[in-house]
């Protein structure tokens, strides 16, 4: 390791060694992923029968559909001349440079957020008419088996052993061809607990729209397609989360091909199955993902289950 040798050479000078270490500590980031959540994502699900659970959306949880942020914040390499003088002046100038850079990065992030907002701008009026309560109302009528177990937020008390708490958030792709639902599912015992028994995170991407102008498809019939897709994504994600497809921990990871309508890509994880023109996998973070398969990935005939999936996801 060349850098270890380099550091050792520099570290012979104590002040320089301390300086390098100080810079390194400044560069360390807090690991955002909570270990507790990871444990709950792998915890076994409680055994749910037809009548011992209900699902609900938290009262204060709001509908959100955002644009996909473009992750292009790579910056550019370059050189920097720091003023000479003593070590403290040098350290101060490096810290000032880091501070200016951090501000520049914030500006870049704001700019990416503005671009993301632009993606959903054409749908503002349509989105203002949507809220989770009315969407879940649609879900209970469109998909009755799930509807029967729905507990409207704050309207009734849990009568069963388990409350399945669902938090969906939606992301519209930059080219507007797909919407992805990110669904957090928490399994709470009715006996009361400060911690859910298990967590599942599911991501479902809708079938890509092939039309030249996807906006017109989402908006047609006063947004009927948009509304139906949002509801379908939650129904599909909830079923995937509740089914909790078994994944052998020893199953090797592989690159699973899929398409987002614009280009073919891969997602790394444990492949579970491919059917109904979709692939299901557990990704590297432990989330279950249902993605549109590339056109030649599935050759199975369409049964009733597949017909339901296709209707749900467009």
């Amino acid at each position: 390791m060349t850098w270890v040798r380099l550091f050792s050479t520099y570290a012979r000078n104590k002040r320089t060694g301390i300086f390098v270490l100080a810079l390194s500590v400044l560069g360390l980031h807090v690991n955002a992923s909570a270990e507790g959540d990871k444990e709950l994502l792998q915890a076994p699900l409680p055994s749910l029968s037809e009548s011992n659970w209900q699902w609900s959306i938290p009262v204060d949880f709001e509908f959100q559909l955002s644009g996909a942020e473009a992750n292009d914040s790579q910056g550019k390499p370059g050189t920097m001349l720091y003023p000479g003088g003593n070590g403290l002046i040098f350290l101060a100038s490096v810290l000032t440079h880091a501070l200016i850079n951090s501000t520049a990065n914030q500006v870049k992030e704001q700019s990416a957020a503005r671009r993301a907002n632009k993606i959903v701008a054409p749908y503002r009026e349509l989105l203002s008419q949507l809220d989770l309560n009315s969407l879940m109302g649609d879900l209970t009528t469109a998909w009755p088996p799930l509807g029967e177990t729905f507990l409207p937020s704050g309207n009734a008390k849990l009568k069963n052993d388990w409350l399945v708490e669902v938090r969906p958030a939606f992301v519209l792709a930059a080219d507007a061809r797909t919407i992805s639902a990110h669904i957090w599912i928490a399994f709470w015992p009715s006996s009361g607990s400060d911690r859910p028994k298990a967590l599942r995170q599911v991501q479902v991407m809708s079938t890509p729209i092939k039309a030249e102008v996807p906006e017109s498809v989402w908006k047609q019939d006063e947004g009927k397609r948009l509304r139906a897709t949002l509801v379908g994504l939650v129904a599909e994600g909830l079923e995937i989360g509740l089914a909790d497809a078994f994944v052998d921990p020893a199953l090797p990871q592989r690159s699973v091909p899929y398409t987002d309508g614009r280009e073919d890509s891969i997602e790394r994880g444990q492949f579970i199955r491919s059917d109904c023109g979709r692939v299901l996998l557990r990704n590297l973070r432990g989330w279950l993902m249902s993605l549109p398969a590339r056109s030649n990935s599935s050759s199975q005939p369409m049964d009733e289950h597949c017909a339901t999936t296709v209707r749900r996801l467009g």
Binding site: L21, G27, H29, N71, G75, P77, M80, N101, L284
Partner: protein, 227 residues
Amino acid sequence: MRILRLALALAMLMVVAACASPKRLPVALSPKAVDATAGRIGLMLVLPEKPDTYFPGASCLLCLATANLMHSSLNAYTATLSKAEVLEIKTSLMDVLKDKKLEVIELPDASNLEAFSNLNEPQKSPRDFSALKSRFQIERLMIVHIEQLGFERNFKAYVPQGLPSATVQGQSYIVNLSSNALEWFLPFSVKKVTNKNWDEPPSFPGLTNAYFQAIEAARKTIVTPLQ
């Protein structure tokens, strides 16, 4: 002191030699290089021994040491990443060339091209591969040379610029072994950025996914012109 002077002189010589190397521009694929009459073609993959991290802009020794120390977990993890998917690039190329009725000879993979002498002519192959013609009974040689594989984060001296990205960088080319002429030259540089919460040791799931996405994108970049 003499050794130090010698080392400095050698370093200067290497810098001057690097500046003198001709910059090769892309060369469009010559149809005769891949038609059914092209004769036997050798296929060689050149790639680093293991994936690595790169910090462009951390140009002083202390900057580089700082950058490496800041990314010590990522450095250790990167070296453990699989290269099996990179080898699939060769499989895809063999399939495409065989579809074109070419007889493809798979040559052993290499980690560098030091065994072949440099050719400093922009329209010719970077190295003299003519000896392979008689050794493997081939008319042409296709090389996929991956020079950079792993993760890259730009720096300005001690300060990181933006997010790390997965990187696959290199060139793919076809050489006519009778003349060392280039019949295709495609430089490629694929980068895939993950989200801003990239620092997830020990297994860096976001960056790992980007790494495999970059390999897949590089595979498509290389194979598509031949289809």
